[in-house]
C-alpha cells in the first residue's frame, strides 16, 4: 500500500537570538542582503536544500531550509556563518545555536513574526523584517511553494494577531510612552513647538522620537551655552538660555526637561503665567529628570499635562502587563493558522492521484470522441468535446473533493486512494507529497 501518512515537511530552522546569544555574537552574524544571497546559494548547493529563507535582524539570525541532506544542520550553519563573515565565531550548537525541526520550526516562525519571541513583547518591526526576508528569498529564487505558502500564512497570522488582540497595544518604552501621550493630548505634532530643557542624552533621545512623530520646531534651553548651541545645531533647534524660559514657555506646546539641576527649573508660577498667555491651550510637559525639573504642582493646573519618569514607567508597565495577558489569544490564532497550513500540506499528498484520476477520465473521453469523430459534422466537434469535458467535471467533482478532504483532515485517505487506484488502474508510488507542490494549479489555489 502507498505510504500516505502526511509527508514530512522536511523543514529545519537553525538560528540564534537574544535568548541564546549576547549582543556581540548577534552583531557578528547579522547578514547583509549580499551575504544572505551567498548563504542561500550555499544552502541550496552544498546542503541540498530545496527551499530556504534567512531572517537576519539585530536580535536574531535564523536559517530556514527545507529538504536538506545534512545530518547536523547546526554545525553546517556555524561554519557557513563563519565563512561568510570571514571570522571565527565559535558558535556552539545547543549554547548559541538552536535547531528546530518540522512543526516546531514552523511554530517558532509564527511566534517570531507575531513578536512573541521579541525582546520587547509584541514589537511591530519584526513583521516587516519577516516580510523583507520572505521577499528577498523569493527574489533570489530560493523560496519554493511550501515556504511561500508558509510565509503567506505566517504574515497573515501576525496581522491577525495585531488586529484581533492587544499584543501591540500601548507604549513599551519611556521615550515612546511620552511621545504617545503627547500625541494623545495634542493630536498631530507636526505643527507643534517643542521646548527641550537640557542638552544631554535623554533630551537627544526625546528629540529623535519627537522628530519621528513629525515635530519640526524645536527650541533648546541649556545652562551651558556652548553645549546647548551644539545640541541645537545637531537637532535643527533654536538655542535659548535658561533665564529666558519664562519668555519662551508660552510659545511651546510640548516641554521636555532633562537636566541635572538640584531644584525645579520650571515652577508652578511660570506655568500659570504661560497658560494665561497661551489662552489655556493645552501644554504637555515631560519631566525626565531625577530630581525632578518641573514642580509637580504644575499637574494641578487645568489643561497642563505633566508626566514624570515614575508616571511614564507606570504606563510602560501597564502596557507590558496588558501585552502579556494577550499571549494566550495570540497563541490560539497561531495554532489555528498552523493547523490550516498543515492541513494544506497534507492535501498535497493526494494531488498526483487526483491528477492521474482526472487524466484517466479525460483520456477515455478523448479516445471515445476520436472514435466517433466521423459521426459528427465538423462544426459540432467542439460542442461534443465541451459536452464530454463538462460531464467529466461534474462526475469527478464530488469524488475528488472527498479525496482531498479526507487526506487533509487526516481521515482514512490512504485506503480511499488505494481503492481509487485499484478501481481505475492508476499507477502507484507517486504520492510523496512534493510533486504537486510546485504545480501551477496548486499555486493558483493558495
Amino acid at each position: 500500500m502507498t505510504q500516505l501518512a502526511p509527508g514530512p515537511l522536511d523543514l529545519v530552522c537553525v538560528g540564534l537570538s537574544h535568548h541564546t546569544s549576547p549582543l556581540e555574537v548577534r552583531d557578528a552574524v547579522i547578514l547583509s542582503d549580499d551575504e544572505v544571497a551567498r548563504a542561500l546559494d550555499a544552502l541550496r548547493g552544498r546542503a541540498g536544500a530545496a527551499e530556504a529563507m534567512i531572517l537576519s535582524t539585530c536580535n536574531r539570525t535564523e536559517i530556514y531550509a527545507r529538504g536538506t541532506r545534512l545530518p547536523d544542520p547546526a554545525t553546517f550553519v556555524a561554519s557557513l556563518l563563519a565563512e561568510i563573515k570571514g571570522v571565527e565565531l565559535h558558535l556552539q550548537a545547543g549554547k548559541h545555536l538552536y535547531t528546530l525541526r518540522e512543526e516546531a520550526s514552523i511554530r517558532h516562525l509564527f511566534r517570531v513574526a507575531c513578536g512573541l519571541e521579541s525582546m520587547v513583547l509584541g514589537e511591530p518591526q519584526i513583521l516587516g523584517q519577516v516580510k523583507g526576508a520572505s521577499e528577498l528569498a523569493s527574489r533570489l529564487g530560493s523560496a519554493g511553494p511550501v515556504t511561500e505558502r508558509l510565509l503567506d500564512t505566517v504574515l497573515r497570522s501576525a496581522k491577525r494577531a495585531r488586529s484581533e488582540t492587544g499584543i501591540g497595544r500601548g507604549p513599551v518604552s519611556i521615550a515612546y510612552a511620552g511621545v504617545s501621550l503627547a500625541t494623545k493630548v495634542l493630536g498631530d505634532l507636526g505643527a507643534k513647538r517643542v521646548l527641550l530643557i537640557g542638552a544631554g542624552e535623554m533630551s537627544s533621545l526625546a528629540a529623535t522620537h519627537l522628530k519621528d512623530a513629525g515635530v519640526t520646531q524645536f527650541m533648546v534651553a541649556n545652562r551651558g551655552r556652548e553645549r546647548g548651541e551644539a545640541f541645537a545645531e545637531q537637532h535643527g533647534a533654536r538655542y535659548v538660555s535658561l533665564e529666558a524660559l519664562p519668555v519662551v514657555l508660552p510659545g511651546a506646546d510640548v516641554v521636555v526637561s532633562a537636566t541635572h539641576a538640584p531644584t525645579a527649573v520650571i515652577t508652578e508660577a511660570m506655568v500659570r503665567a504661560a497658560m494665561k498667555i497661551r489662552r489655556n491651550r493645552p501644554l504637555f510637559c515631560l519631566d525626565l529628570a531625577v530630581p525632578r525639573d518641573i514642580d509637580p504642582h504644575v499637574a494641578r493646573l487645568e489643561n497642563v499635562f505633566l508626566h514624570d519618569l515614575d508616571a511614564l514607567g507606570q504606563i510602560v508597565a501597564q502596557s507590558l502587563a496588558q501585552r502579556r495577558a494577550e499571549i494566550p489569544r495570540v497563541e490560539a490564532i497561531l495554532e489555528e493558522e498552523l493547523a490550516r497550513f498543515l492541513r494544506w500540506h497534507r492535501s498535497l499528498a493526494v494531488k498526483p492521484t487526483v491528477t492521474a484520476f482526472r487524466s484517466h477520465f479525460e483520456k477515455v473521453a478523448a479516445e471515445e470522441l476520436e472514435r466517433h469523430r466521423g459521426r459528427f459534422r465538423p462544426e459540432d466537434v467542439a460542442a461534443a468535446e465541451s459536452l464530454a469535458h463538462g460531464i467529466i467535471q461534474k462526475l469527478l467533482h464530488h469524488p475528488t473533493t472527498r479525496l482531498r478532504d479526507a487526506e487533509a483532515d487526516g481521515l482514512d485517505g490512504a485506503a480511499r486512494l488505494e481503492t481509487v487506484r485499484d478501481l481505475f488502474g492508476i499507477e502507484n508510488g507517486t504520492d510523496d507529497g512534493d510533486e504537486g507542490a510546485g504545480s501551477d494549479a496548486d499555486r493558483n489555489t493558495r
Binding site: 488586529s163 494623545k184 493630536g187 489655556n280 493645552p282 489643561n303 508626566h307 496588558q322
Partner: protein, 278 residues
C-alpha cells in the same frame, strides 16, 4: 407611499441595531486597522443606508399626511434620532474617526426603538397652523437638538479621556479614543452648529407664532430655550475668546444642553404652553 410607512418604521430599529453591532466591532479592534478592513466599512455603510431610509420614512409620512411628520412627541423622537445619526455621520466623515460611533449610535437606536414602538399609535391631535414656517422651525430645532446631543457625547468622552491622561492610565478606552484636542474640536464644532440651528429655530418659531396670532414671548418654553441658547453661546464664545478650554468649556456646554432638555421637560409636564406634546 403609504405602504412604505409601516415597513420602514419596523426596519429602522433593525438597521440601527446592526450599525451599533458593527461600530462595536470597530471599537473592539485595533485603531490602526480602522478603515482598511472590510468589516470596518460595514458600519458606516449600514448607517448610511439607515439614515437614507429614515429620510425616506419621513418623506413617505409627509407625503401621506400632507405635512412634515413632527406632530407628536414620538415623531419628534424619531426626527431627533435621524438628526443624531446624520450629525454623527457628518462628524465621522469630517474627522475620519470611527471609534466614537459606539457612544452615539446606541442612543439613536434607543430613541428610534421608542419612536417605532409607540409612534404609529398616536393620532395627530393638533394640526399645524402655518405649515411652512412651522416645519422649518421644527426641522431646525430637531437638527439643533441632534447637534447638541452629539456635542455633549463628545464632551463627556473628552472628560473621561482627560482624566485618564492626567491619571497616567493607558486603558482600552484610551487606545480607542482620538486625541483630546480632536474631541474638544468635535465638541465645540457640533455645539456651534447646534447654536446656529437653534437660533434659526427660535427666530422662525417667533415669526410663525406671531403670524399664527400666538404670543411667543408669553410661552415659558421660548424663554427657557433662549436661556439655554445663551448658555451654550457663552460656552462657544468662551472657548474661542476667553481661553475656556478643556473641562471648563465642556462643563459649560453640558450645562447648556441640560437647560435645553429641562426646558423640554418643564414645558411638557409643568406649564401650559403651545409647545406641549400631550
Amino acid at each position: 407611499m403609504r405602504f412604505l410607512v409601516p415597513l420602514l418604521i419596523t426596519t429602522l430599529p433593525v438597521l440601527y441595531a446592526l450599525s451599533v453591532a458593527a461600530y462595536a466591532r470597530i471599537y473592539n479592534t485595533e485603531p490602526a486597522d480602522t478603515g482598511d478592513q472590510t468589516s470596518h466599512r460595514v458600519g458606516p455603510r449600514v448607517l448610511r443606508v439607515a439614515v437614507l431610509l429614515h429620510l425616506l420614512y419621513l418623506i413617505a409620512r409627509g407625503w401621506t399626511e400632507g405635512h412634515l411628520p413632527l406632530a407628536s412627541v414620538y415623531d419628534f423622537l424619531s426626527a431627533t434620532a435621524l438628526a443624531l445619526a446624520a450629525v454623527y455621520l457628518y462628524v465621522e466623515m469630517r474627522q475620519r474617526i470611527r471609534t466614537t460611533g459606539i457612544f452615539v449610535l446606541p442612543l439613536v437606536l434607543l430613541i428610534q426603538l421608542i419612536a417605532s414602538a409607540y409612534g404609529s399609535t398616536v393620532p395627530l391631535t393638533k394640526p399645524p397652523i402655518n405649515p411652512f414656517w412651522f416645519e422649518l422651525h421644527t426641522l431646525a430645532a430637531v437638527l439643533g437638538y441632534g447637534a447638541f446631543f452629539v456635542s455633549a457625547i463628545y464632551g463627556i468622552l473628552f472628560l473621561f479621556l482627560y482624566r485618564e491622561i492626567k491619571g497616567n492610565r493607558i486603558s482600552f478606552f484610551f487606545t480607542r479614543m482620538p486625541p483630546l484636542e480632536s474631541l474638544a474640536r468635535m465638541n465645540v464644532s457640533a455645539a456651534s452648529a447646534g447654536l446656529v440651528l437653534l437660533a434659526l429655530a427660535i427666530l422662525m418659531g417667533i415669526g410663525w407664532g406671531k403670524a399664527a396670532g400666538l404670543h411667543p414671548f408669553s410661552d415659558p418654553k421660548t424663554w427657557l430655550t433662549i436661556a439655554a441658547w445663551c448658555l451654550l453661546g457663552f460656552a462657544v464664545v468662551a472657548y474661542h475668546r476667553l481661553g475656556w478650554r478643556g473641562p471648563r468649556a465642556v462643563y459649560a456646554s453640558l450645562a447648556g444642553l441640560t437647560t435645553l432638555l429641562l426646558s423640554r421637560v418643564v414645558t411638557d409636564l409643568f406649564v401650559r404652553s403651545f409647545h406641549t406634546f400631550r
